[in-house]
């Protein structure tokens, strides 16, 4: 393990240190197809400069004739942008934005299972790029809210038309947002949290 000599290691800026009292963290995942604004959203609400962590994923079960020795398994580096919001001096919220190919995100152990929930960003110019990830969240019972990123030249559909097109259950929140604006991204997170709270009240959370 050779990382650079210790005095050149970048670390958190003084203002990025969490208090000693920070006891636990929760996470929310921001998903959506290519270029829908995930990184933008993480960056607009994060209190720290967004960071990137990565992991090498071996996709098991891909090569049917899996002959060892010749490297038939595909290894992919999955990178993940993330930001942070201090909730109280004891509780911290992390936001993960997931670029790249969504089938790999779901191999990341515990990313979705442990998350409070997910935000699905959609771009109405290319709704279909977010179809697959919505299906995967449904399969895994990950609660989510949908945020429609308002790109200027994007077609605008009434919410109920979007709900039909995305085939979303009636209770799943759909909101418009501008991922570049902190208050707008914050409102999206609030919408998700209110939804999670209502699921908790009715005992509907998986």
């Amino acid at each position: 393990m050779d990382f650079k000599s210790s005095d050149t290691i970048p670390g958190p800026r003084t203002e990025d240190h969490l208090p000693q009292t920070a006891q636990a963290a929760v996470k929310i995942v921001i998903v959506g197809g290519f270029g829908v604004g995930k990184t933008t959203m993480v960056g607009s609400v994060s209190e720290i400069r967004p960071l990137t962590t990565e992991e090498t994923m071996t996709q098991a079960g891909v090569g049917v004739d899996d002959n060892y020795g010749s490297d038939s398994k595909t290894a992919t580096t999955v990178a993940m942008d993330f930001g942070r919001i201090s909730i109280t001096d004891r509780l911290v919220l992390y936001l993960f934005g997931t670029p790249g190919q969504e089938r790999f995100w779901f191999l990341w152990n515990g990313l979705f299972e442990g998350a409070l929930g997910a935000v699905v960003l959609v771009d109405t110019r290319r709704l279909e790029v977010s179809f697959d990830v919505i299906g995967r969240l449904e399969e895994r019972g990950v609660p989510f809210a949908v945020a429609v990123n308002s790109f200027p030249d994007a077609p605008r559909y009434p919410v109920e038309e979007l709900r039909t097109a995305l085939d979303l259950a009636p209770d799943i929140p759909i909101v418009e947002c501008d991922a570049r604006r902190r208050s707008s991204s914050r409102d999206v997170l609030m919408t998700l949290m209110r939804f999670l709270h209502s699921l908790a009240m009715t005992g509907a959370l998986v």
Binding site: M1, F3, S6, I9, G11, P12, A22, Q23, A24, A25, V26, K27, L51, T53, E55, T56, T58, Q59, A60, T77, M80, I87, T88, L91, V92, L93, Y94, F96, N109, G110, L111, E113, G114, L116, G117, T124, E128, F131, I134, G135, E138, E139, R140, G141, V142, P143, P155, L162, A165, D167, A169, S183, R186, M190, M193, H197, A200, M201, L205, V206
Partner: protein, 141 residues
Amino acid sequence: MTPPQRKRRHPGQEPPPPPPPPRAAEPGGEEQGRPKNPERLYVITGPDGARAELDLVTLIVAREEIPPSVTPEQATLLRLCTSPLSVAELSAYLGLPFSAMTVLITELITAGLVQARAPIVRQALPDRSILEAVMHGLQKL
């Protein structure tokens, strides 16, 4: 203009999970109601014998002064987490992949040099006070 049409999926519709990877995964340790995950690799045992798993957002905190016996890599890591820092942040600052990071941290946990503070994860019976705290915190943004 008509938008393209998606078709809803349902829990449990996934294709059968792929066979477990050749690397030995720690079996079991499933909490109630959570799906089996064959790729759970980062199970660690704390000094109290409690099993904990390193998550991206497990908070790591150095316990005490850095002893002279540690390697330079360990010293660097210990200096970074004099105040709590998530595994994800440590991985980002050190430029190490998540799994490499968990190996280093696990060594330090075993040596009793750092403490791991487990995240709060989604549960069948969620703690509503946590959800309310998050909402309250977001409102102040």
